[in-house]
């Protein structure tokens, strides 16, 4: 485990090193999966999908499609009996007899051109028996609802997920802490609310893409835009019943992920088709419309939240019920359900908590991981209730939060203790920067101005033993090549990995390269690029690998110079002796070693450092109470505040200022950390003001950028501030913990609280569109 040394931080740790991938990305040289050239043997795949949210497949006739010139393969679920799924194996690659959402893949076609593949889809006849759909998670949890997965009891499942066979409940996570029922009577104020958080889409600008090739020996290669090359190797191999070593995944730059390119989404379709046309690469590139219909969604949530405090504002109890609209299958939904359960108190110390978090099968698109992993959805309600409770008891909302928020050593909702945290400092800095308590005048007579603030916490949600590994090798010129299996999805992890390798080894940042693209055949293992875990977990592996390389180098030099390794160091690419004051550039020794003293023979050889990291201390939680010693590796905490104006004439909301402060433990690259805070704020703002996947009878009604609006350059606040708090993580590299996802967690409630401050209106959920705000103001008599 990497020891933290906050006193002695080597360069370039904590410095704003320029992005290692910037030059190739600004010159058009950076390679994304669809940029790879495959030549004339390339085939194009298209997918025939279910038009029904819920139906049995009665008959599939592919004869005409197979006969179409140019068609090379037509596959159906009958060809691939295996199950696939990350935590709960509940789906087939292609549907076999049951379709469960509009867009469920039924038949795959590979042809010499996209046009012919499309034409082939039209020639396929599928006969369905339409069934009653489940379109609401609360209804889905009801015994009257049709059961969507009658085989739920037979699916293989991770040991921390609790499906209930015979129902649509794919996971039920419980917290039973203290005794809420006996406490409500002692509360001086109680708030009880219901919220509905709509489905949204991740909307990476690069659509999903996979190119797969199977060769005659059964080896499969998959090129894709992927946050999870190693998980894809494992899960697709299992689904096809082949050895993991037969499956190779090559993953170039990812053009935006936000969680939707984690796990296995559409990649298995391309692989399955490719196994039927050996020797031909088969490309499946989703259209933007298909993205909106079939890519993983941020699943919808219906939440019931009840909380109470005493007359001094001390939180006494919370009782929360979450119905997650997990969709047709549960790639990540079951674990989002768990994570939201063990984080269900929000970042507060609450002695009595009862939580029921359910993942419900519905006939909606599949719930995947999205930036925040359930936290934006639950905080949207929690942090509005906190404001309402503070108001009821007559306390300032910031003072209320400072009183109740988690401090170092606080008892968490799972019964474990909070590690060192700077959350209180985050609140203070955020409140100060937004000018909390000071009301500024509106910019016009038809405008109302308001401020709002919200807190957050989030832990990496992952199996307890998710691991990382790395290697470090050096070339003849002394440059350092760092092998990693984590992915550059825009967050800047290659830059941070290079900084860490440089800092731990003692070389300039400019002499470090990252061995890319990630290739499961050559790159070291990494669980997945998710959960904001790479800076911390992969970072530890990189540091350990660099230290290992350094030890090899110093041992070699010590022997050659007849000195002790303790007297040697590597500084700026030079081995130096503090004792003899000798020095030597790394390039002189890292491949060929050094002559032994006296010139008889050699010592050393090519340097290859290796390192890994896996948390070893995470315990399980009791299935009935959700209590345990240590549920997660750590929590990143923080606060956001906004100042906004509501236009009384139109209902339009303008975010004038946004402030973000997060405790990141240690910012390895402060500007990259701030860039995450800004980007996350705007993505959170976009989800608060504009975004909702409109599902009507299971059909997506707004599958384009025109109808599904995301924030543009015109919407971004003119004043966006980001502040870093650093309270070190005991097992993070130089104290670092993650920040990628956290920055969009508190944005919805911060905006909702500011809307209330401006016009005194609350909504049961986002998006707070101009139309919705205007109509609510009309109802409330604010406008006529």
């Amino acid at each position: 485990m990497a020891r933290i040394d906050t006193q002695n931080v080597p360069s370039p740790i904590g410095e704003n090193a320029p992005r290692i991938d910037a030059r190739e990305k600004v010159t058009g040289a950076a390679i994304f999966a669809d940029d790879i050239q495959f030549g004339n043997s390339l085939l194009h795949a298209r997918i025939k999908r279910s038009p029904h949210p819920h139906a049995f497949i009665k008959k599939i006739d592919v004869t005409k499609a197979r006969a179409l010139p140019g068609v090379k393969a037509v596959v159906t679920g009958q060809d691939f009996p295996g199950y696939i799924g990350l935590y709960l194996k509940d789906r087939h690659i292609f549907c076999r007899d049951h379709v469960r959402y509009v867009g469920d893949p039924v038949v795959g076609v590979a042809a010499v051109s996209e046009e012919i593949a499309e034409k082939a889809l039209d020639l396929i006849e599928v006969e369905y028996e339409v069934l009653e759909p489940v379109l609401d998670p609360e209804f889905g949890a009801n015994p009257k609802a049709p059961v969507l997965h009658p085989d739920l009891g037979q699916y293989s499942v991770a040991n921390f997920i609790f499906p209930q066979p015979g129902t649509n409940i794919s996971n039920h996570f419980k917290i039973r802490k203290g005794d809420v029922d006996s406490v409500w009577g002692k509360c001086a104020a109680i708030v009880e609310r219901k919220y509905r958080i709509p489905h949204i889409q991740h909307v990476p600008i690069e659509p999903h893409i996979a190119i797969a090739k199977a060769d005659e020996s059964g080896e499969i290669t998959l090129w894709g835009s992927s946050q999870s090359p190693f998980a894809q190797r494992n899960l697709i191999a299992q689904a096809l019943g082949i050895s993991q070593s037969k499956m190779r995944v090559i993953a170039p730059f990812v053009g935006g992920g936000f969680g939707c390119k984690a796990g296995v989404s559409m990649e298995a379709l391309a692989v399955a088709i490719a196994t039927k046309v050996k020797g031909h690469p088969v490309k499946l590139l989703l259209t933007r419309e298909e993205e909106f219909f079939t890519a993983f969604v941020r699943q919808g949530l219906v939440s019931y939240i009840k909380m109470g405090c005493d007359e001094k504002g001390q939180l006494l109890a919370m009782e929360n019920t979450f119905y997650w609209d997990g969709g047709a299958y549960t790639e990540y939904g079951v674990n989002i359900t768990r994570a939201s359960g063990y984080s269900s108190s929000g970042p507060y110390e609450v002695p009595n908590v009862k939580t029921d978090s359910y993942c419900i099968y519905t006939n909606h698109p599949v719930g995947g991981a999205m930036r925040g992993f359930g936290m934006p959805e639950i905080h949207a309600g929690l942090e509005q209730c906190i404001d309402e409770l503070a108001l009821q008891i007559g306390m300032d909302a910031v003072e209320f939060r400072k009183l109740n928020c988690l401090k170092t050593g606080s008892t968490l909702v799972t019964g474990s203790k909070m590690h060192a945290t700077g959350l209180s400092t985050c609140i203070e800095k955020t409140a100060e920067a937004i000018g909390w308590g000071k009301k500024s005048p509106a910019s016009g007579p038809n405008k109302r101005r308001g401020k709002g603030l919200a807190l957050m916490w989030k832990a990496p949600a992952m199996p307890p033993n998710a691991g990382s590994s790395a290697w470090v090798e050096l070339a003849e010129d002394g440059t350092v090549n760092v092998g990693v299996g984590g992915q550059e999805i825009g967050q800047g992890v290659f830059t941070v990995a290079a900084q860490m390798a440089a800092g731990a080894l003692g070389v300039p940042y400019e002499s470090v390269r990252i061995a890319t693209p990630v290739d499961t055949r050559y790159s070291p293992y990494e669980w997945q690029t998710v959960a904001s875990r790479l800076t911390w977990s992969m970072g530890n592996a990189v540091v350990n690998a660099a230290k290992d390389a350094k030890r090899q180098i110093l041992d070699t030099v010590a022997e050659a110079w007849e000195e002790s390794p303790e007297d040697l160091d590597i500084v700026n690419g030079m081995v130096i002796s503090y004792k003899s004051e000798k020095e030597m550039p790394l390039k002189n020794l890292v491949i060929y070693g050094l002559p032994k003293p006296g010139g008889q023979g050699w010592v050393g050889g090519p340097v290859v450092g290796r390192g890994n990291f896996m948390p070893t201390y995470v315990t399980g939680l009791d299935a009935e109470t959700g209590q345990g010693e240590r549920a997660v590796v750590h929590y990143t905490t923080g606060a956001q505040a906004v100042e906004l104006e509501v236009d009384l004439d139109t209902g339009r909301i303008e975010i004038l200022k946004g402030v973000s402060t997060f405790d990141v433990g240690k910012a390895i690259n402060p500007e990259l950390v701030k860039a995450q805070m800004e980007g996350g704020f705007v993505q959170g703002m976009s989800s608060a003001l504009f975004e909702s996947l409109q599902l009507k009878d299971g059909v997506v009604k707004n599958p384009s950028f025109v109808d599904y609006r995301i924030a543009t350059s015109a919407d971004t606040p003119r004043d966006l501030e980001a502040y870093i708090v650093e309270v070190a993580q005991d097992d993070g590299p130089w104290g670092a913990r993650g920040i990628g996802e956290h920055s969009m967690v508190p944005t919805i409630p911060a905006i909702a609280n500011a809307i209330y401050d401006a016009v005194g209106i609350r909504f049961d959920g986002p998006p707070f569109t101009a139309e919705k705000v205007y109509l609510a103001m009309l109802d409330a008599g604010i406008v006529k």
Binding site: R19, T27, D34, V203, F705
Partner: protein
């Protein structure tokens, strides 16, 4: 399907390409010429990732037929740097940290480059307006907008 032989200047190089009638400029660049710096984000003229200069004007290349470009002058992201010297907007976007995943970056660079050519000293509002057709999901636009301001300074210092 009819095919057409067209002459088109791309990044100062004259190219002769045979294109089918229904091929878009984006497809011609990416598939016929393997110039993959221009990105395909939606094929519907909505995201701006495929923006190129067509006779000096930024266009969504997925909305232009290749055959229409006979005799035209095209500039793509690969043509912004001159003799390995990055253009002002390329330098600025690196310096200001306006690149994350990099998929929208080529389109952002072309739109910004076009703005700076017609308006060497754009206001904040003019920058926001010029980039409104280029969607970015990573950065929140803040550092991109700053990059354009910085590029204007680099450009004016150089002239």
């Amino acid at each position: 399907m009819a095919f057409h032989k067209i002459n088109v200047t791309i990044n100062d190089e004259l190219e002769q390409v045979v294109v089918p009638s229904n091929m878009t400029l984006m497809a011609m660049l990416r598939e016929s010429l393997a110039m993959t710096g221009t990105k395909n984000g939606c094929s519907a003229g909505e995201c701006g990732a495929c923006t190129v200069l067509l006779n000096g004007e930024p266009v969504n290349s997925c909305m232009v037929l290749a055959v229409e470009c006979d005799g035209a002058n095209i500039v793509t992201v690969e043509g912004l740097a001159e003799e390995k010297q990055l253009s002002p907007i390329q330098q600025a976007i690196i310096h200001e940290g306006g690149v994350q995943c990099g998929f929208c970056t080529p389109g952002i660079l072309i739109s910004s480059h076009a703005l700076l050519k017609r308006n060497p000293n754009p206001s904040e509002n003019e920058i926001r307006e010029a980039l409104v057709g280029n969607l970015c999901r990573c950065t929140g636009y803040v550092r991109i907008i700053e990059s354009v301001k910085e590029a204007a300074k680099i450009q004016s210092a150089a002239t």
